[in-house]
């Protein structure tokens, strides 16, 4: 009898405890040091508002996404899950597996304060199903100041011509001119950068967005592919399979001149005690009106009717997008705030350059993953890596392979 009573009491206290504190379980794949520090900002900000953050980390984007989907299928979804905004996302919405967060989005004027590419990606049939937390730009140019100086390069290249001139100088001075990790996603990232910088907005959108046959056969696209292939001789023999961070190390240690990599590379420089504009430089593209590829991370909120969980979902969104959280979070993540209405003067030089561009709508283009389904994007990446690594690949062959991969 006594035992039963205490048990009942224990259960009672347990349940009151859960009622007292709204708990949000958040699944994500941010497990490395810098990423962990960044997610902690989000957690702290949520807990400061009285909730309890339950962390479920699974390394690897596809691991984490499928773990979240598995939990939804198994009937015990997390409160929120880090996700992407491509076809997978739309399919989950179509299957009715996500809650929308219109209430918070409308109350906070998302339509006005978020960049257009991000809005296009998260808004489906007029509803908001995902909360964007940052803008990642995958195609930054990072360079070693020392290597530039020793090779006699006076300023950051503004055109393709100047870029190749700089690469030649680096080569002559004995540096690895272009540091590239030869993995599919890194090669793809380089291609997207060439496409946006050489092709321009129209070509970029026609190729990746519309997959327009005419553009794919145009001289302009051929020129893009040609430039892409011309970069290959500037890459060292150790490239294939190399991780991006080992590649960044080459720039950090002044063995290589330039690396094209996303803004997350900043973390590597910071960890090696290098300072932007002193030890290394960064520029988002060639020329003063270069395009800015907008990528980024979003959270989705699995379907639930539990009032408390719904409240937890809304509160998560609110806390994630509050200005102070945005600055602190993005400083650690290497990205820039998704809101264009906040002061970024406390951030580093590179982030400030990025945030400035984010206010100019014409200079923004969406990341390839936002423009097509995963399988299609995958096929394109396969083609890019095939072209890049092909022996004796001619420009015409390359155009044919790339165009073929984008065909329906």
């Amino acid at each position: 009898m006594m035992k039963k009573l205490t048990l009942a009491m224990a259960i009672a206290t347990l349940s009151t405890a859960t009622i007292a504190k709204e708990e949000a379980e958040v699944m994500h794949w941010w497990t490395s040091g810098g990423e962990s520090a960044a997610i902690k900002v989000l957690a702290d900000s949520y807990e400061a508002k009285g909730g309890k953050w339950k962390d479920s980390a699974v390394a690897g984007g596809s691991n984490a996404r499928s773990a979240a989907i598995n939990r939804m299928i198994g009937g015990s979804p997390p409160t929120a899950a880090l996700f992407n905004t491509s076809q997978q996302y739309r399919e989950l919405i179509a299957e009715g597996m996500l809650n929308n967060i219109d209430k918070v989005a409308l109350a906070n004027n998302w339509d006005d304060i978020l960049p257009q590419p991000t809005l296009n990606a998260i808004k489906v049939d007029g509803h908001f199903y995902a909360a964007p937390v940052n803008i990642h730009m995958p195609g930054w140019f990072w360079y070693s100041k020392k290597a530039f100086e020793k090779s006699g390069i006076e300023k950051e290249p503004q055109t393709a011509q100047e870029l190749f001139a700089a690469l030649d100088k680096l080569k002559a001075a004995g540096y690895i001119p272009l540091a590239l990790g030869g993995q599919e996603w890194q090669e793809n990232l380089l291609f997207a950068t060439v496409l946006s910088n050489i092709g321009g907005k129209q070509i970029y959108m026609d190729v990746l967005g519309k997959r327009d046959e005419k553009t794919l056969n145009s001289e302009a696209f051929r020129n893009v592919v040609d430039t892409f292939l011309k970069l290959k001789p500037y890459v060292d023999a150790g490239s294939p399979g190399r991780n991006w961070n080992d590649t960044t190390s080459l720039v950090i240690n002044n063995k290589a001149g330039i690396q094209v990599m996303g803004d997350w590379a900043k973390g590597e420089f910071t960890q090696a005690n290098k300072v932007a504009d002193i030890d290394y430089g960064c520029f988002p593209g060639l020329g003063d009106d270069s395009l800015y590829i907008v990528g980024g991370d979003v959270f989705v909120f699995p379907k639930t009717d539990d009032k408390q969980q719904v409240a937890a979902q809304q509160n998560l969104v609110k806390s994630m997008l509050s200005p102070a959280t945005q600055i602190a979070f993005n400083n650690l993540k290497g990205s820039i705030p998704v809101r264009t209405d906040i002061d970024v003067s406390a951030m580093d030089v590179c982030a400030q350059k990025g945030a400035a561009i984010l206010r100019v709508a014409e200079r923004q283009i969406p990341d390839g993953s936002m423009l097509m389904e995963e399988y299609r994007y995958g096929t394109l990446k396969d083609a890019i890596t095939e072209v890049w690594n092909g022996q004796n690949m001619t420009t015409d062959q390359a155009v044919t392979i790339l165009a073929h991969s984008l065909r329906d």
């Binding site: 596809s62 399919e91 993995q183 150790g238 294939p240 995963e374 399988y375 890596t385 095939e386 690594n389």
Partner: protein, 296 residues
């Protein structure tokens, strides 16, 4: 009396039947169920979540138009051939040598087995470093003064597969050694005595007498190695990510990428059905001759 004997026979066999119920359930529910389910899905347009429409063989057509898949299959054949032979020969030699009453047997056994315990996520990376011309063997040899030494297999599309095989052999041959050693240790002592008396050289005993006696263990080994070849994934992801280009892609990686990264269940199940059918065709005669015909 006859009746009693029959009853006892049934009783005895009854227990045997009951004992294999868990196996039967596993086969019917988990294995056969999943096999049919995945074949069914390969005929649908499923992407991230299963759909049960019917699109005929469209996924298979797409599959074989994909150069990455075709390359994966070709690579699989090369890897399978080399990996099986090298792993087996090395494993057999190791087990025989370890069986020679050597000193520090336990040390050697553990050294040969330990790679099997290590996750490839990281050991694959270490192999990548070792093979990388600027980090590993090549640069070390050049620094030692051999300026023209070249060992760049991992960055060479024509050679990269061999580096994958080396790492896979490194991980797999210890298990072959352990399996065959268990087999050797199960062999009757009298045999050695007999061959001794007949004055047959040891190497001949191993080749002509022991090897045939180890047949069941060898079959086990071959099946195990084949399973690990078909499922080979981690090592490629950790070492080469399928590169340079698509030079070291393997089917399991193709299936995994499409199942998760690319949310394309239809083509992934089509690929695994192709793989399964191939295996079925290859091992059906083998299973038939070993397990069905030869029922004892």
């Amino acid at each position: 009396m006859e009746w009693l004997r029959v009853r006892r026979h049934i009783q005895r066999n009854m227990l045997a039947y009951i004992a294999v119920i868990p196996m039967a359930l596993t086969v019917f529910i988990a294995y056969m169920g999943t096999m049919f389910w995945s074949v069914r899905l390969s005929l649908t347009s499923s992407r991230i979540l299963p759909k049960y429409d019917f699109v005929g063989f469209a996924q298979y057509e797409r599959l074989f138009e994909t150069s990455r898949w075709v390359t994966s299959l070709e690579n699989l054949v090369i890897i399978a051939f080399l990996f099986l032979i090298i792993c087996f020969v090395l494993g057999f030699l190791l087990s025989v040598f370890i069986d020679q009453k050597i000193k520090a047997e336990s040390f050697f056994r553990t050294v040969f087995l330990f790679p099997y315990a290590m996750s490839f996520i990281v050991t694959g990376l270490v192999w990548q470093w070792i093979f990388n011309p600027q980090l590993g063997i090549q640069s070390t040899m050049r620094n030692l003064g051999w300026e023209t030494f070249t060992f760049d297999w991992i960055v060479n599309p024509n050679m990269v597969l061999y580096t994958v095989v080396i790492a896979a052999v490194w991980q797999g041959s210890g298990l072959v050694m352990a399996l065959l050693l268990a087999g050797l240790r199960g062999i009757d002592e009298d045999l050695w005595k007999a061959t001794k008396i007949d004055g047959i050289p040891t190497w001949r005993v191993y080749l002509s007498i022991i090897l045939p006696m180890l047949r069941p263990m060898i079959i086990t080994t071959v099946v195990l190695l084949s399973i690990s070849i078909i499922k080979m994934y981690d090592v490629v992801v950790a070492m080469t990510m399928g590169g340079p280009g698509i030079a070291s892609e393997v089917p399991a990686k193709f299936i995994m990428d499409n199942l998760f990264e690319r949310g394309n269940i239809g083509i992934a199940t089509a690929a695994s059905t192709v793989l399964l059918t191939t295996v079925l065709c290859l091992i059906a005669p083998f299973i038939y001759s070993n397990y069905i015909k030869k029922s004892r």
